[in-house]
């Protein structure tokens, strides 16, 4: 079956005015061009530097593809261009990939978040490649005087019925002058030559040789460095400061106050960081200085209270509880978490009368550039933002606070300046995963789950969007999701798989316990519940019971669920988020009286896998990240101050703590779905459920390492 989508000719812009010659074809992601753009475009007015598009074909046939979305380690700089190359029909070895600039005229959705890049690019990127290919064919056909329909392509070579050939580079100039065809058909999935094959990270050679790639590596002539002193506690503001000692340090250029912050500008990073420590600042309390103990009590009060907002309500849970044979209720608790990107936050800014030049690692270039333009009261058109490769994102780089600081300092100093966070700055001036507590209550009547109520108490904000419609919505007759929050002055935000990163743990731990209560197999319980969702007419429910059952069955089979190996204990979890279905089985062994994770078997249905080599890396990393934070991630506050500031007091998972990971990708012809996040949420639950099997003790709070008494094994004779 061939797919095609209705395609607006005006969505294309083209030019052949490249210095190297060749065709540059652009596609305006999701929308037609602005009304002011009338094809055919006046190509003399375009140039490569200010017109940034997807495909550049040189006279020699080499192809440059521009990857518009930010690269945070999720691999889109490799996988998104693969979509174009597939339909353009060029050899992947002949493709160069370049990071696109922020360009709101020609690109849309230039952000990295929500595991959305590939899902949203799937049709339009392939359409871009297919349309360019058709234009090249049409040019060759005209040159030969034959019908375009008799021409075929293979890896950048066009062949006609007589067997004559022309390279893309031979016809690129003519192609650029042709009408842009409408509605070009896309390839059948079975004909893919690039999609579905392993492609290495396009930056691999630069990474292994230490070439400049990241924001922290960026340099320009005359650039200076800023280290910023911010209030040490949330809720404090600046009273006064003395910078005499700081200014006495050789290499310090200036000390600038802005907002409640003090920037030390120096000729190098070390001098700026060192001199900042000599600032003598006096802080005063502005709002509450909050501690984790306060939050724990406030969140429990919310769970016990009546200030909930109901996000979904099916049937009548109260009635179900009233008539139940058994009611099971559990509370699950999670701490704040910092993102801890290995590359600390940083950004370059240079503000001149003509423009605001910004360079650095940012997941949301457009929003950040617009925010800075507004803050500096400059037109957005004067902002030029270049994205660098990012040393991790995990949600932290959705927030442009560090870029705003750079712009403010650059605006005040008029110097080309890079703001560099120390690790301590990065960890203590975070935008954290909020601490959240869940209380789940289920009614059991005559061996069936008849009621399910999920209550969420969170710092600052609650689950959103479709999350209340995730499993087990639709599977249980009486179902309700209630949320409440406490507004704190501690900044919080998205952290890899927002909300679901801990909700999956709570829910999938709870279903494990429900199966124990019902005395049914834990995998079978989930399959039975999913059976009830089949044929549902509830359009809010996005997960597919069929696809979820399929990953569950395959995971159980591949992991040999229920196996009776000596000293092997298994835990199961399955979850749907970011449009992807995942099942995981954790195998735990007891070593020295403690349960130790040895293996995770993971089955993923994310539709067509564009780049399996990159996908496997994301999946393995997501699982280990999930296990690591469930085990060790702990971030608390005392009087508004974070108790950990660096990796000596904040533990991240390391090499000796990782299990073997076995991944199975479901074969699928369905459009691709998210992959950067969805394998993380179920990992903590699979682990805790395996620990329960091994020790007889159930973990309900993260991180597990805070509860050593629950990680000790009860002698086997007691478990029975």
């Amino acid at each position: 079956m061939s797919s095609s989508i209705r395609f607006n000719r005006r969505a294309f812009i083209r030019t052949s005015t490249l210095a190297s010659g060749g065709l540059l074809i652009g596609f305006n992601f999701f929308t037609a061009c602005k009304d002011s753009v009338k094809p055919p475009i006046d190509i003399s007015k375009l140039n490569f530097n200010d017109f940034n598009a997807f495909i550049k074909i040189a006279d020699n046939g080499m192809v440059t593809l521009f990857s518009p979305n930010p690269e945070i380690g999720q691999g889109v700089k490799t996988s998104m261009p693969m979509l174009i190359a597939e339909e353009l029909d060029v050899a992947w070895e002949n493709v160069f990939v370049q990071q696109g600039l922020l360009d709101t005229d020609n690109f849309k959705n230039q952000f990295a978040g929500g595991s959305n890049s590939i899902r949203l690019a799937w049709e339009p990127f392939r359409q871009t490649g297919a349309t360019a290919r058709q234009m090249l064919i049409n040019a060759a056909a005209a040159k030969w005087g034959v019908d375009a329909s008799e021409c075929t392509t293979n890896e950048g070579i066009i062949t006609n019925a007589k067997g004559e050939t022309l390279g893309y580079g031979d016809v690129v100039k003519e192609a650029a002058l042709l009408e842009v065809p409408d509605n070009v058909a896309l390839k059948d999935v079975a004909d893919f030559k690039i999609i579905g094959t392993d492609a290495r990270n396009v930056d691999i050679d630069k990474i292994i040789t230490g070439k400049p790639l990241f924001g922290l590596d960026f340099k320009v002539e005359g650039m200076v460095f800023a280290s910023v002193l911010r209030p040490p506690a949330f809720g404090q503001k600046l009273d006064s400061f003395d910078a005499d000692e700081t200014k006495a340090i050789v290499g310090v250029i200036d000390v600038i106050q802005f907002d409640d912050k003090i920037a030390v500008i120096a000729k190098d990073t070390w001098t700026a960081m060192k001199a900042k420590k000599l600032l003598k600042a006096v802080w005063k309390a502005d709002t509450n200085l909050e501690s984790t103990e306060d939050h724990d009590k406030l969140l429990v009060d919310l769970l016990d209270g009546n200030s909930f907002k109901t996000l979904r309500k099916d049937g009548d849970v109260d009635k179900a509880f009233a008539v139940a044979d058994t009611v099971l209720e559990r509370t699950y608790e999670s701490p704040f978490l910092p993102h801890n990107c290995m590359e600390p936050m940083n950004f370059f800014a240079h503000v001149t009368a003509e423009k605001i030049h910004l360079v650095g690692p940012i997941q949301t270039p457009e929003g950040t550039a617009k925010g800075i333009a507004a803050k500096l009261e400059r037109p957005f058109e004067e902002v030029k933002l270049e994205m660098t490769r990012m040393g991790g994102g995990f949600g932290r780089r959705l927030y442009g606070d560090f870029a705003m600081e750079a712009a403010q300092i650059a605006n005040l100093s008029k110097l080309p300046v890079k703001v560099v966070f120390s690790r301590e700055d990065d960890m203590t001036d975070g935008i954290y995963r909020p601490a959240i507590k869940y209380r789940i209550k289920a009614a059991i009547k005559e061996g069936q789950i008849t009621g399910y109520q999920l209550k969420e108490a969170a710092i600052n904000s609650n689950m959103y969007g479709l999350i209340p419609n995730f499993f087990p919505a639709g599977a249980i007759e009486n179902y309700q999701v209630d949320v409440a929050n406490y507004s704190s002055n501690i900044t919080t935000g998205a952290w890899r798989a927002p909300y679901t990163n801990f909700l999956a743990f709570a829910e999938q731990s709870f279903f494990d316990e429900l199966a124990e209560t019902l005395e049914v197999d834990k995998v079978q319980l989930r399959l039975d519940l999913l059976e009830k969702v089949k044929g549902s007419t509830d359009e809010r429910i996005q997960y597919s019971p069929e696809r979820m059952q399929a990953v569950i069955k395959k995971a159980a089979s591949e992991a040999d669920w229920g196996k009776k190996e000596a000293n092997t204990y298994q835990g199961f979890a399955a979850y749907y988020c970011h449009n992807t279905h995942v099942a995981e089985v954790a195998d735990v062994q007891i070593e020295n009286g403690m349960p130790v994770i040895k293996k995770v078997t993971c089955v993923v249905d994310c539709g067509i896998v564009v780049n399996p080599l990159g996908a496997m890396n994301q999946i393995e990393g997501g699982i280990i990240d999930g296990i690591g934070h469930a085990m060790y991630g702990d971030f608390s506050f005392t009087d508004g101050k974070p108790n950990a500031q660096n990796f000596d007091r904040y533990r991240l998972i390391r090499m000796k703590e990782i299990p073997k990971i076995e991944v199975h990708l479901m074969k699928s012809d369905a459009a691709p779905t998210g992959l950067g996040e969805p394998t993380l949420p179920p990992a903590g639950a699979a682990l805790a459920n395996a620990f329960k099997a091994a020790t007889g003790k159930r973990l309900t709070n993260q991180p597990f390492s805070k509860f050593p008494e629950l990680l000790k094994v009860i002698p086997q004779e007691i478990i029975g």
Partner: protein, 153 residues
């Protein structure tokens, strides 16, 4: 400010910096060798790993006085063209996600493999335990060290 001379990637290099400047920042800001990364500044994460007389060390915690006259190798000097067995293995296995910590990981692996040509799985884990990878590409880091060991035989 004092001057220091070190043998950096096989070349005698002199630099004038304040005496408390860590080697890491001398490499990055003064000598334009940005392959060595800043991660924590307190020798906890391993992103800044370089070789001092062939041994893996944390450049964030070494002052210039400690490396004066010594042989230092950074990722840029591990090979001329990315052909060190560790670099080849990292490419073959396609280790990186974000890639930021990888030069430190490779420098640790390269120094380790000189001392142990045929490491066991547990020996690899022990050797690499000091280097954090926040993307958790540990499975591939482990695999690449094993591949590199075979290449070095």
């Amino acid at each position: 400010m004092p001057t220091y001379t070190l043998n950096l990637n096989g070349t005698s290099t002199t630099v004038e910096v304040s005496e408390d400047t860590p080697l890491l920042w001398v490499l990055r800001d003064h000598l334009n060798l940005v392959g060595t990364k800043y991660g924590c500044g307190i020798a906890q994460c391993g992103s800044c790993t370089v070789h001092l007389e062939g041994n893996a060390v944390r450049s964030c915690s070494l002052t210039m006085g400690q490396v004066e006259g010594k042989n230092i190798t950074t990722i840029e000097g591990l090979s001329e063209d990315g052909s060190h067995p560790v670099q080849e293995a990292w490419k073959e296995v396609d280790v990186p996600q974000c890639g930021y910590c990888q030069s430190g990981q490779m420098m640790t692996a390269a120094a380790f493999l000189k001392t142990n040509a045929a490491p066991t799985d547990d020996e690899i884990k022990n050797a690499m335990h000091g280097n954090i990878c926040r993307c958790a590409a540990y499975t591939r880091i482990h695999q690449a060290v094993a591949v590199a060991a075979k290449k070095m035989v």
